[in-house]
Structure formats: C-alpha cells, structure tokens
C-alpha cells in the first residue's frame, strides 16, 4: 500500500511535468503558426483587396469597405478595363497594350537569352586575354542605373528612327538584358566540369559543336530561369516604356498607369483594380507555375553578384 502510493505519486509527478512541457511546446507551435499566418495575411491583403474591388460595382465600392466581400459580384469592371476604359484620351481599354507588350516581350526575351547563353559559355569555359576584365565590365552593366543613360538612348532611338515604337523597346530590352543573361549563364556554366569540354575537344568537337551538343542540352534549368527572369522584368518594365513611348504604342504598365491617372469626376476604382490585376496576371501565372525557377533567378541575380 505504502509503496503503491509512492509509485503513483511519482508517476503523476512525471505526468504533470511531461504534460506541462507538452503544453509549452503546443502553445509555442500555435504562436508560431499564428505568426506565420499573420505574415501571410499581410502579404495577401492587397491582392485580396484588389480582387474584391474588381468584382464590385461603383455603388458597392462607395458603400462597402475594402475588406468586404463582393456580395453582388459583377465582371463588368474586367470587361471595361479590357476593352473600353479610358487610357489617356482614347477609351479603348488595355487590350491593345497587352498586344504591344507581348510583341515586345517575346523577341526581347528570346534574343537576350540566346545571346546570354553563348556569352556565358564563352566566358566560363575558355580563357583569353582580358576575359575577366571583359566580364567585370559587362557585369557592372547589370547594375548601372538607367537614369544615366536615358538621354543618350533617346537620341540614339531618334537617330535610328525607333522613337515611340515597340521596335525601339525590343532593342533596349535585348541590349540591356544581355549583362544579366550573360551573368546567369556564365555562373551556371562555371559549375560544369571542364573535363566535359576537354573530352569533347579530344573527340574533335569545335567551339560551336561543343556548345550545341554538350552545353545546350544540359542548360535547360538555366534557360527556364533566364527566360522567366527576362519575361518578368520586361513585362513589368515601366521606365523605358514611359521614357520612350506614348499614346497607343506604350507597353502595358505605362498604359495601366495612364488608365489610373485618367479620370474626370468619380474615380472608377473597380476598373482600376481589374486593370491592375489584368496587367499583373501573366507574371503571376508564371510565378505560380514556375515559382521555383523564379526564386532561383532572384537568388542568382542577388547573391552571386
């Protein structure tokens, strides 16, 4: 009897201590998840606010708060933003500007990525006099602020008859994308063993054969990273667009900014938000589908020079 009580007592003693430890762990975990969900709410809030607003009519916009769910949803703001909202003086919606942007993005992304791949290969796998200096000078081109080039660019575009057109923007995005794409591929190819190149050379493969048959097939991940990076950057460009195009030739972000700044009387916030979402949709979709590669591009652009 006596021994029994001692045993039970000590057992419950252990139990309560273990229980308390478990409780503390549980509370800690709950607090951790609460904080993480709180952060997620902060990041999602503007998107949610935009989505809600884009499905409200102006009456609901005026009389409900930004966080209230659209109880009588309408797609009219999306339709208006796409095909009839006023961008500056012409009320044609964002449709045409979307097309402008696609025409600009596709060639600029393809050309800059291709040349970047070749450059990266040349800079990482071969030694020639001044290779490092050349790379360093190209690399700084990634970081040089465009403000200090805008006026000469304007003059050159005028000289070549490329002012106020998508052609000029394709040229600019290709040209100023090269330092970044070159850097991406150069750093990627640095990790490819030199022995592979050597073996190919022993087999008689030249510079271009090695590139096409050995290097290119193994670069798929970096090609995806570079294409996504360039696509996002060029789709979202505002500075070149606003500096060198106007009217109906502008890319989407400039048009969006014009749409939001154009207003007489009551501001159609629902159309603004629908327009903003429409403009953000392509890069968001790419992010959702290939977020891993997008983040890799971010890190490659950031951590490695």
């Amino acid at each position: 009897m006596n021994t029994m009580t001692t045993i039970t007592e000590s057992a419950t003693g252990i139990d309560t201590r273990a229980l308390r430890r478990n409780m503390i762990t549980l509370v800690r975990r709950l607090a951790l998840y609460a904080a993480l969900i709180g952060f997620a709410a902060f990041f999602l809030m503007p998107l949610v606010v935009m989505v809600f607003a884009s499905f409200k009519d102006m009456d609901a916009i005026a009389h409900t708060s930004i966080l209230s769910f659209p109880t009588h949803p309408t797609v009219q703001p999306w339709v208006d933003a796409w095909s009839s909202a006023c961008v500056g003086t012409s009320c044609v919606g964002l449709r045409g500007f979307y097309w402008n942007t696609i025409l600009m993005v596709v060639p600029a992304v393809v050309i800059s990525s291709l040349i970047g791949a070749v450059n990266g290969y040349a800079l990482s796998k071969f030694s020639f006099r001044g290779a490092n200096l050349v790379y360093g000078l190209i690399l700084f081109g990634t970081f040089a602020p465009y403000q200090v080039m805008l006026i000469p660019i304007a003059k050159m575009l005028a000289l070549f008859g490329l002012s106020n057109g998508i052609g000029g923007l394709i040229l600019l995005h290709t040209l100023y994308g090269l330092p970044m794409t070159t850097m991406f591929f150069r750093n990627y190819f640095m990790t490819v063993p030199q022995d592979l190149i050597k073996a190919a050379q022993v087999d008689g493969a030249g510079f271009w054969t090695t590139f096409l048959l050995i290097i290119l097939p193994m670069s798929t991940p970096m090609i995806v990273v570079t294409v996504i990076w360039q696509f996002t950057g060029i789709w979202n460009d505002f500075l070149f667009g606003v500096s060198f195009t106007s009217g109906s030739s502008t890319p989407i972000m400039v048009a969006l900014n014009n749409l939001v700044s154009t207003s007489a009387g009551e501001r159609p916030y629902n159309i603004h938000m629908a327009g903003a979402l429409l403009s953000a949709l392509p890069t968001l979709v790419v992010y959702v589908l290939a977020g891993k590669y997008f983040v890799r591009g971010l890190m490659a652009g950031a951590v490695k020079g």
Binding site: L36, P145, Y176, Q194, G206, T283, L284
Partner: protein, 310 residues
C-alpha cells in the same frame, strides 16, 4: 595575386588551350556584346556626363558651363528634398525589410508544415510590377477609401491614417509598399543562409543548455553575416533605383514632398526641359550606385576565385 597577369587563378588552372581554339572563338563571340555594352553603358554614361557640364534645356547643346549645373542642383530645394527622402526611404525600407525578412525566415525554419506554400505567399509580390503594387497601396492608404475608411466603419470615429496626403509622411507610404514588395525576397536570402548553418554547432550549444533565443542571437545570426551583407547591398541598391513605385503611389506628391532622385531626374529631363539638370542628377545617382555596388561585386568576385582555388 600578381598584378601583371590578367589571367585569374581559376582560368589559369584550366587546361592549356588546344590548337583548335587558337583563333579563340570565345573572344570573338563575346566581342559584339562587349562592344554594345561599351557603347550603350559606358559610352552613354560618358555622354550624359558631358551633357551635365553644359547648359542643355530641351535638347543637348554643347556650350560648356563647367560645374554650374552641379552647384545649381545642390542649391535646389527640390533636389535636396529628394535626397533627404532617399535617405529616409532607404533606411526605413532596408531596416524594416531586414527585420521582417529575418524573423519570417527564422520562423519558417522551424520545420513547419506547408513551408513551400507559405514561402510562395511571402514571395509573390516580387513577381508583380511596382506599378500594380503602387496602385493597390494607393487605394489602401487613401484616407477616403482605404484603412482609415475601414477603421471608421468599425466604429473608430477618430481613426486617422492619412500619410498619403501628408507632405511630412508621404515618403513613409513608399516604405510600406516597398517593404511589402521585398520582405519575402529578404526572407529567401536569409532562409538560404539558415539552411547553410552547421547543425552540429547548434546541437552543441543546445547540449550546453543555451536557450533558443541565445542560440539565435549569439550563434546563428552572426553566422548569417554574408546573407545580411548581400541583403543590405541589394536593398539599398533597390531603394536608390526606385522609380515605378513612386510614380504609381504618390507621384512625388503632395507637391514634391515625396520625390526621389530618380523622379527628379525624370521630371527635369522629360517634363521640365532641364536636360543638364537631369543629367547632373543622373550622374549623382550613378555615383551612389558605384559606391555601393562596385565594392560588393569585387568582393563576390574575389570570393568566387578563392572558392575555386580551394
């Protein structure tokens, strides 16, 4: 390192060039890009610098006035406002992004469920244009429609959140939106750093009875030095280049109270016909970027060589 040879150690260690590559197709391949960059980056920088020494208004005019544009620039109230704004903005934006990014990274590094999904949510603003970000936050921060309106609707009649229209506070709305855009990116940098921390060291500290807080503040965070340094450089660099966000969120206003050097440059050059002033301000922006980025790039470059050496 020898100063005479340009060939770096890692490339010197690679095998000698076979005869096939004697003409160096590599050098020939890189030449067109190099020439284009030389012209469109360095040539254009030179050209802008030349214009900043002239009295150009709407068009470049080569009547040199020495440093007069720079004196004028630094006497201009509008420019000085934009420089002060840049300091306030970049400090606020960098410090808050660093803290938030670090905290989220540490929380996310506790073996949590759905880490991938949470990371996606924290990072998606990086994929969005700053124009879109600006439009969203402009509506959220607008006293008549956004948070202030929301709080009043909840019964807080005296609620006031009017930074967007307050000349003294407008620059901090830029901080809010920019932090929202970038904190997830800083989180990703720190998370990569945390994953690289040696688990043995942490375990040893735990065995010695150190609490979680002490382990983080005294062992782990000091080990994130490199991530921290990268993040700071990137944040300040981004702050200096910020343009889209300002245009979309405050457009430099009220008045010019939230102008940054980049918007000053754009307005001078393209809207007010003061091309030489615009060029002088662009040169100042370049100098700041050079001062931040060049030492950083040099450091990364050297580290890469050292890594290849060992």
């Amino acid at each position: 390192m020898s100063t005479k040879t340009i060939t770096p150690p890692d490339l010197a260690a690679s095998p000698p060039k076979p005869k096939r590559f004697r003409l160096s197709p590599a050098a020939l391949t890189i030449t067109p890009t190099f020439i284009l960059v030389a012209i469109s980056v360095y040539g254009f920088i030179g050209w802008s610098t030349v214009i900043s020494f002239t009295d150009s208004k709407f068009f470049p005019k080569y009547d040199f006035v020495g440093l007069a544009q720079y004196y004028r620039l630094w006497e201009s109230d509008r420019w000085n406002t934009s420089v002060i704004n840049l300091v306030l903005f970049s400090v606020g934006f960098s410090v808050i992004s660093l803290l938030l990014g670090l905290i989220i990274a540490i929380f996310l590094d506790q073996k949590v469920r759905a880490e991938g999904a949470l990371r996606m949510i924290y990072l998606y603003p990086m994929a969005i244009s700053l124009i879109v970000t600006g439009i969203a936050w402009k509506w959220i921060l607008n006293p008549g429609t956004g948070i202030e309106h929301l709080l009043k609707g909840w019964g807080f009649e005296n609620a006031s959140f009017n930074w967007l229209v307050d000349p003294n506070m407008a620059v901090y709305t830029l901080v809010i939106a920019a932090v929202w855009q970038t904190a997830g990116f800083v989180m990703a940098i720190f998370l990569a750093g945390l994953r690289g921390v040696d688990a043995e060291i942490v375990k040893a500290a735990q065995l010695e009875g150190a609490g979680a807080f002490r382990i983080y503040t005294q062992i782990i965070i000091p080990m994130l030095r490199n991530s921290m340094f990268s993040a700071i450089v990137i944040l300040i660099y981004q702050a200096v280049r910020s343009f889209d966000l300002v245009v979309a969120l405050t457009n430099g206003g009220p008045g010019y109270s939230s102008d940054l050097p980049t918007t000053f440059m754009y307005n001078s050059t393209f809207l007010r016909g003061q091309m030489a002033q615009g060029s002088a301000s662009a040169v100042m922006i370049l100098l700041v970027v050079v001062a931040i980025v060049v030492p950083y790039l040099y450091g990364e470059f050297k580290r890469e060589h050292n890594d290849n050496h060992h």
